[in-house]
Symmetry: C2
Subunit: 411 residues, 2 copies
């Protein structure tokens, strides 16, 4: 700290701006003179998940400048780590300075021009959000719709592509609001047949369920830092295929957001091949430190191991839930998202009461539904660092206790 | 950690999505199997500044959920901390999940509707950015222009307001690209006379130079986390007056960005008076922990003390620079930004060479100009935690050494 300077040393000046020094009227708030407090929680909802000490330590390191050469080296590492996690060789691979929604807006803002058609598969909240984003920026939005838990056949997708001729088709691979992992095989090929780009959301699924950006012909893929990657929320990996780059770098109009303009972001990330990186915005240095660490952990473990491991723990959890007499919301095992399990709300229970009991007595977060699935499901997420049988057993024990106690309180 | 699962346990399924488990072709990148490295640097540029251990520790704490009641408590603390730092009683006070540019876009996107007029004072990079943002979203942009180092009289501002009848006028209080602190007294009143809202950027000045949002009749004020507040980059305090709220909550069109829509953000921050907070996006939990700590440090020290202290250290630095024979870029002492000092590039020197020498031999970051001031100035920032005479002396010694060595290498 430094010595406090007496108020008398304040100068008043001819311009008046400094006269304010004696005009402070709002006192320091009492709450800010108390230390920060945050309880320990088992974050077994759909994310954020608990951050392992190694990633917390990386994010807590002294920072360097956002434009230092060493920072560009760290960003290059992040780019390579994302290329591995996405299984892509796309040069146009980077992390957004924001959460998954930032990546979602970035994709729509850069790919679509006002007046162009967009097709959005809505079977939960994420499609709803993309439709809203596309509508606001002036796209013609067409939708394919299923209630939560539903999924789309390739034939249904092809029919809609043929009818609406969109420039972009959106599909959520990990539909965390319903607990569904959507089939992606063949969808990219169908899109390309109709001269349409394929945008996929893997926020909830990356690292937990198999996804291969290049082999599955996905044009734009994004995820979040705070799910199976276990970094704090605030950064979002994204990648664009050459086909997507061709569309977004040959637009007639500028994207509506300066902050999310890929012309600038691709320079900031050194992806545009230009020798000099220009200042665009100040990236979240600590967030990038943490993201790099989370991608390193995934690279060390290996993608296949991470996928198998999530499936194994999920199957253990699913069996335990059925043993408790609960019904899984997604009937078909192969369509269940291994990272986020949805349970049909058991009859005779108030889902809010169950969640509150578990939070209060077990310090565990589960959540209810989200958007259209509110009131339909309870959700348990075991992702990355949180994904192990010990945590699954703890989750099951908490749920068993809640099912006994909350029923009792109703009787 | 957990045990690695052999690949043979991978299941293939009828939907094909799981078949990818045996198709991984891109191996883990070698760079990600090495630990994160970042050198120690004295961040004496215009920001980010060094983050004190106390704030690093807060940002490195185990996280909780973005929608937990304790998180809302922390966000309430942050709101009060910002109200104090801004000297405002505005209810509509919150932190953006992003850097200062996010706040800039949020202000323009929410206040202005397409086709409306905006007046932007450009005397450095920040006005240029606001003009670009407003143009992209469809505003009619008018500008007031000065070369870097220049400022605007209230008469000049009034003349332009009368001529262009804008709904919003932008002014940078801390013009960090030129090192200017702009007079604000009276500007709000003039704006209101012409039914215009006043938007002020205090990214580089908050906590360093006096600014009183309510008393100076500022309608929208924002800052960044990484300057005198000393938190890592990635969050940005912002506040809206009642007059600004009236305009932005009575628009005919929706703001172009869903992510930055204040209707949703005001609910997320509990400012809209509704009993339930709905999920909008996942806020940067660690970033908010760090921001709360930085605002607490400012509350403990007191605003007046912080202002006086920055002035005292800046004057010590200015005297030292003049003793080295250097010329300060802003002649009028009262218009010099205490947090970021600009030095005219001394004759006979290559500014890039000076900066590279100081970085290499002293581990200190100074910077050159930014945007229109590139090639005009060197910049030294001493903000918050970095603002003390010991650091000023270190900066002066490094510069003295560089002036000797770099001249020598030219001879």
């Amino acid at each position: 700290g430094f010595t406090q300077v007496p108020l008398e040393s304040a100068r008043s000046t001819k311009h008046g701006v400094h006269r304010g020094m004696s005009s402070v009227t709002i006192p320091p708030p009492a709450c800010m003179l108390r230390p920060l407090e945050a309880p320990f929680r088992y974050l077994f909802g759909p994310g954020p998940s608990n951050v392992p000490p190694r990633i917390l330590a990386a994010g807590g390191r002294p920072i360097i400048g956002h434009m230092h050469s060493e920072m560009f080296g760290i960003m290059n590492d992040i780019k390579k780590g994302i290329q591995y996690a996405f299984q892509t060789s796309n040069n146009m691979t980077l992390a957004m300075s924001g959460s998954g929604h930032t990546a979602m807006e970035c994709a729509v803002f850069n790919i679509v021009e006002p007046g162009e058609s967009v097709l959005v598969a809505i079977n939960g909240i994420w499609g709803e959000r993309v439709a809203e984003i596309a509508e606001r920026m002036g796209a013609k939005v067409h939708t394919l719709f299923k209630t939560p838990g539903g999924h789309f056949t390739n034939a249904e997708i092809e029919q809609a592509l043929a009818k609406h001729k969109p420039v972009l088709f959106f599909l959520a691979h990990g539909e965390s609001s319903s607990g569904l992992v959507h089939p992606v095989d063949g969808v990219g090929d169908i899109c390309h047949k109709y001269n349409c780009l394929l945008l996929v959301d893997s926020v909830a699924s990356l690292g937990a369920a198999p996804l291969l950006m290049d082999q599955q012909n996905i044009d734009i893929l994004y995820t979040g830092s705070q799910k199976a990657l276990n970094a704090p929320p605030g950064t979002a990996p994204i990648s664009f295929s050459e086909r997507a780059c061709h569309k977004m770098f040959n637009r007639k109009t500028k994207p509506v957001s300066y902050l999310l303009d890929m012309t600038h972001l691709s320079n900031y990330w050194g992806n545009d091949g230009k020798p000099e990186r220009k200042y665009h915005h100040t990236g979240p240095v600590s967030g990038f430190f943490a993201l790099r660490e989370s991608l390193a952990i995934l690279a060390e473990m290996g993608l296949e191991n991470s996928w198998s491991h999530h499936t194994e723990v999920a199957e253990y959890l699913w069996k335990g839930l059925e043993d408790l007499g609960l019904k899984l919301f997604i009937k078909d095992k192969d369509l269940r998202l291994p990272s986020v399990t949805t349970i049909a709300i058991p009859e005779g229970y108030d889902w809010k009461e169950l969640l509150a009991y578990i939070m209060k007595h077990h310090q565990i977060e589960f959540t209810g539904g989200l958007g259209p699935s509110v009131g339909m499901v309870l959700r348990i997420g075991l992702m990355g660092y949180n994904c192990n049988k010990a945590n699954a057993a703890m989750a099951l024990a908490a749920l068993e206790d809640a099912l006994k106690q909350c029923r009792k309180s109703k009787a």
